[in-house]
Symmetry: C2
Subunit: 215 residues, 2 copies
């Protein structure tokens, strides 16, 4: 499914959704998206805005309406969405909702090299993480409670998703921490020994060389 988009940057999706409401010039798009708090939903780099807008126009997903100049200010080009653009917005949204895309959170990368640290240090680090997670969950939860009074749930749904995932991560970290502090994590002894003596256990050495043919 997940096809190649003519303009791949997600900021383009946001721009399309903004110009759906009415024609705008780039800075107005930025203001609109900021007003909608779109920065909470995706990684937006405002430096990419004009590039993205130009690319959208190049591929005729939006088109120029007029170009005016006020006083000595730089020229402002107003764009409107095209039929193809409307189609792209809908099609892209469909894809994002229906096709799970394998993501690589940085925490996952960290976990994958966790063995590089002493287990006792890992305990401390995970405790820090957990505290930060709990705090973020609290903050987000309060904000959501505040906003749900004014904004239809349809437009806060991403926050609810976010909260669910954050809670799941906190739960998982808490469980792992439990195993580590209580010493029930299998292989904990060898892991600790490795960091005390600096010696790699035989079974691990074997593993490290797995699948590596002599080059």
């Amino acid at each position: 499914m997940a096809k190649r988009r003519k303009v791949a940057n997600l900021l383009a999706l946001a721009v399309l959704s903004a110009v759906t409401t009415r024609p705008m010039h780039p800075y107005e798009m930025a203001a609109t998206l900021r007003g909608w708090n779109k920065e909470r939903d995706m990684e937006i780099k405002w430096g990419s805005l004009y590039t993205v807008v130009r690319n959208l126009a190049k591929h005729e997903l939006i088109e120029e309406v007029e170009s005016t100049r006020h006083g000595r200010r730089p020229e402002r080009t107003v764009y409107r969405i095209t039929e193809a653009g409307r189609q792209e917005l809908v099609d892209w949204t469909r894809e994002l909702l229906s096709v799970p895309h394998t993501e690589f959170p940085r925490f996952r990368a960290g976990l994958s090299v966790m063995a590089a640290l002493d287990p006792d240090e890992v305990i401390g680090l995970l405790e820090n993480r957990l505290a930060a997670l709990d705090e973020e969950i609290a903050t987000l939860g309060e904000r959501h409670a505040r906003e749900i009074a004014e904004i239809p749930r349809l437009f806060l749904i991403e926050t609810e998703y976010d909260l669910a995932i954050l809670r799941a991560e906190a739960t998982w970290v808490r469980a792992l921490l439990g195993e580590l502090t209580e010493g029930t994590f299998p292989g904990l002894r060898e892991w600790r020994a490795f960091h005390e003596t600096g010696e790699i256990p035989d079974n691990l050495r074997e593993l490290a060389e797995k699948d590596i043919t002599d080059v």
Copy 2:
């Protein structure tokens, strides 16, 4: 906390962890990382390998050991990790484990523009997603069960994390789907009406213009 890394690409972290075991030349690093299934843990683009290695060397996190040539083959440069490199690996791992980094999964972006689609279509899309999620959870679960027999849990911990998050997402999607199919999702009527008539309800129009001053 999260400071600027001299080499920011996560592939650099993987390279550092590879050359920790013994000095290697780039292609050997690739083979090692592939043997460790590092591609499951982070987005790895092999086209970036030589750039990353060069940058690591430039910043003296790894250093050249020897440069040999076999027959007419291109020259092979063997690198070893430096003390600074070892430090970077440890420090980076610490950061990844302890500091939660706000991520922007694509699904979140999709949810944030969900209103662009008809609710009845959304139901179908989410059902697709759920099916795919369930299947992936099953596959991952089986693989984990198979591998835990041979590999210490310490090196499968990312998979367990992955499973936990996938399960949480599946649960959340299932719940949302329930509300949509049973019609208990608040504002569902307005959402549907908007897509039938194409008319934006007054309270939404107001919202859409929120925070946008006349430009």
